[in-house]
């Protein structure tokens, strides 16, 4: 795949890809590797994301590269754990949103008239709701979890954000499928006896992979932002689990004395959101036939 027509887009796309690759490495290996690095010899159950390593508010530099937070925990460990949380939520939500969105979008065109009417009116109804309100409402019905694995703890956030993110994909897919349906190659395949299922899975959906990939990147950015917002408000990822949003919230309370602690989560979160948007724009430019 060749990407981009303009040099500027190319540069931003490559920058975004590079940053995201680093971020994935950080999320997968960061917390574990870091734990081994800073673990005190006398505490076998020590986990550097949850447990304090030393004095609160250590300046960056030295053994704890980015210093320590208000509870004396290693900031680098927590940033890495936050990356794990953000990427996990972003990916799972996007997979769910894509599955539901594509299914609803295709059914919106090919299902019997009455059924597609109901589906599309329901999708419209979802747009009548500002996303954050629905997310807040869903989280209100699910008490925060402190047990279970990472995904168990993230469940309320994942459910809330999945419910709010499929409608835009459904709308996009429905529009695309409705135009593709009348193109010659589809009519031709249909005339030679292809079933609707075959038409959709072999002829129509492959046409959409490019645009869906591009849109997914931008949606994941939105999801990560929404997760941080909920965690910032204290209703997302619960402590002691680390999230960039909750790190920003606790760091800002000591802003007058220790402004530096606020910089790390803000920079990483912003760069992640920028990178995903750059990559999404780059992919869109690459797949858009008008751009070439």
């Amino acid at each position: 795949m060749r990407v981009g027509v303009k040099r500027k887009t190319d540069f931003l796309y490559l920058f975004g890809m590079g940053f995201l690759a680093l971020l994935v490495l950080l999320a997968v290996f960061g917390p574990t590797v870091r734990n081994v690095m800073v673990k005190p010899a006398d505490q076998p159950n020590f986990y550097s994301v949850y447990d304090p390593v030393g004095v609160p508010h250590l300046e960056p530099g030295g053994k704890y590269i980015l210093g320590t937070d208000e509870q004396g925990r290693d900031v680098f460990s927590r940033l890495a754990a936050g990356a794990r949380v953000s990427l996990t939520v972003g990916l799972i939500v996007e997979v769910i949103a894509l599955s539901v969105g594509v299914l609803v979008g295709v059914l919106g065109v090919y299902a019997p008239k009455w059924f597609s009417m109901i589906l599309m009116r329901f999708t419209d109804g979802m747009f009548a709701f500002p996303d954050i309100l629905l997310a807040v409402l869903i989280i209100g019905t699910m008490p925060p979890r402190k047990e279970g694995g990472l995904i168990g703890k993230l469940l309320p956030v994942i459910v809330a954000l999945s419910v709010t993110s499929w409608p835009s994909i459904a709308r996009l897919v429905k529009g695309q499928v409705a135009t593709l349906k009348d193109r010659e190659f589809v009519i031709g395949a249909k005339a030679s006896g292809a079933s609707t299922f075959y038409l959709v899975t072999r002829h129509i959906l492959p046409q959409l992979t490019g645009i869906l990939l591009a849109v997914s990147m931008i949606d994941i950015a939105g999801t990560i932002l929404a997760e941080s917002t909920l965690s910032f408000l204290g209703i997302g990822v619960q402590p002691p689990e680390a999230s960039w949003g909750s790190m920003i919230n606790s760091a800002r309370q000591d802003m007058s004395s220790h402004p530096v602690a606020l910089v790390w989560p803000c920079v990483v979160l912003s760069l992640t959101v920028f990178s995903l948007n750059f990559v999404g724009d780059g992919l869109r430019a690459a797949f858009d036939p008008k751009g070439k």
Binding site: A128, I132, L137, G245, C266, S270
Partner: protein, 316 residues
């Protein structure tokens, strides 16, 4: 006649949306943890008292009856009482907090529209030149920077370094309210301003390409008059729709910024209510803000074909 039909259809969809969100908030109440009767009865209530409260609240009825009851009460402005300590009626909580949020959001949208339309028009006029790329870069930053990242930066500059603006509503106000609004409103306006800038730019570029502009130029209409009277007036119409949908972003932002600046508005109240599992307040907050969102978009959608004959034509 067809315009009337279009408006009626839109009204119908508005009503449908209201029913939809009232049903969703009702269902959320059904699934929320905790039994209202037990919570309202207090810790020492006997089983009979709890049964009595349950009967009084109509909780022993089947769910369709309860839903109708819920909607009936909501229409009259009765959202029950808060589960938390004082059992304050939710209606009073709304009366106390909604004006603050409405004031906050409307100031932000006015500021965002002014900035967005102005800079969007400038970017379009100086297309592909320095001013344009500078404005586009800034607007990309504005769209992607979360407001809880922007807030500490501005608070650091204006409150801590320059010591010019107050950084929270926590203490009794010592200056006119206006000063307390400056920072939150600016931060809240950033994202919608960036979106409106991009949209105005795109719309203005389209308009400047059209034949009536070429005719006006050939006729010798002065440049300023051409840009503002002829082009911008036409370009601005699609922007109005965005102003309606921006209200969604404003809500997200007001949740965050009311918490950040400790403003006594609806957003911070709803978040607190979630943390205390105070479902009636959450339901009412969501229902009221959702209804405001629906009404605003309804007004915009009805106003637009009346303002813009082209849309009227396309609907017919």
């Amino acid at each position: 006649m067809r315009l009337v039909k279009a408006i009626l259809l839109r009204l119908l969809f508005g009503a449908f949306s209201l029913v939809f969100i009232s049903f969703v908030t009702f269902v959320a109440g059904e699934f929320s943890p905790g039994d209202p009767a037990t919570i309202l009865g207090g810790e020492k209530a006997s089983i009979e008292t709890v049964q009595q409260i349950r009967h009084n609240l109509g909780l022993d009825q089947p769910w369709p009856t309860r839903y109708c009851r819920y909607v009936g009460h909501a229409v009259q402005g009765d959202f029950g009482v808060s589960y938390y300590s004082t059992h304050e009626p939710v209606k009073d909580i709304l009366k106390r907090t909604v004006p603050m949020t409405v004031k906050f959001a409307s100031q932000a949208i006015v500021l965002a529209s002014a900035i967005g339309i102005f800079f969007g028009a400038i970017a379009a006029v100086y297309q592909r030149r320095f001013a344009d790329s500078a404005i586009l870069t800034l607007s990309t930053l504005g769209v992607t920077t979360p407001n809880f990242v922007l807030a500490p930066i501005l608070v650091y500059i204006f409150c801590q370094r320059l010591d010019q603006l107050p950084n929270s509503w926590a203490t009794t106000l010592v200056a006119p309210e206006f000063y307390y609004f400056i920072l939150p409103v600016t931060i809240l306006a950033a994202r919608p301003a960036a979106l409106i800038t991009r949209l105005t730019r795109a719309s203005m570029i389209d308009t400047l390409d059209q034949e009536f502009i070429r005719t006006a130029t050939a006729k010798g209409v002065p440049r300023g008059r051409l840009l503002f009277r002829h082009a911008l007036r036409n370009a601005i119409l699609p922007v109005i729709t965005t102003i309606g949908t921006s209200f969604g972003f404003l809500l997200t932002g007001s949740f965050v910024l009311e918490r950040y600046f400790l403003m006594p508005g609806l957003g911070s109240t709803v978040i607190e209510a979630i943390q205390q599992i105070d479902m009636p307040v959450v339901q009412a907050g969501v229902l009221v803000t959702g209804a405001m969102f629906i009404f605003l978009n309804l007004i915009v959608d009805i106003l637009l074909p009346i303002l813009d004959p082209r849309i009227r034509e396309s609907q017919i």
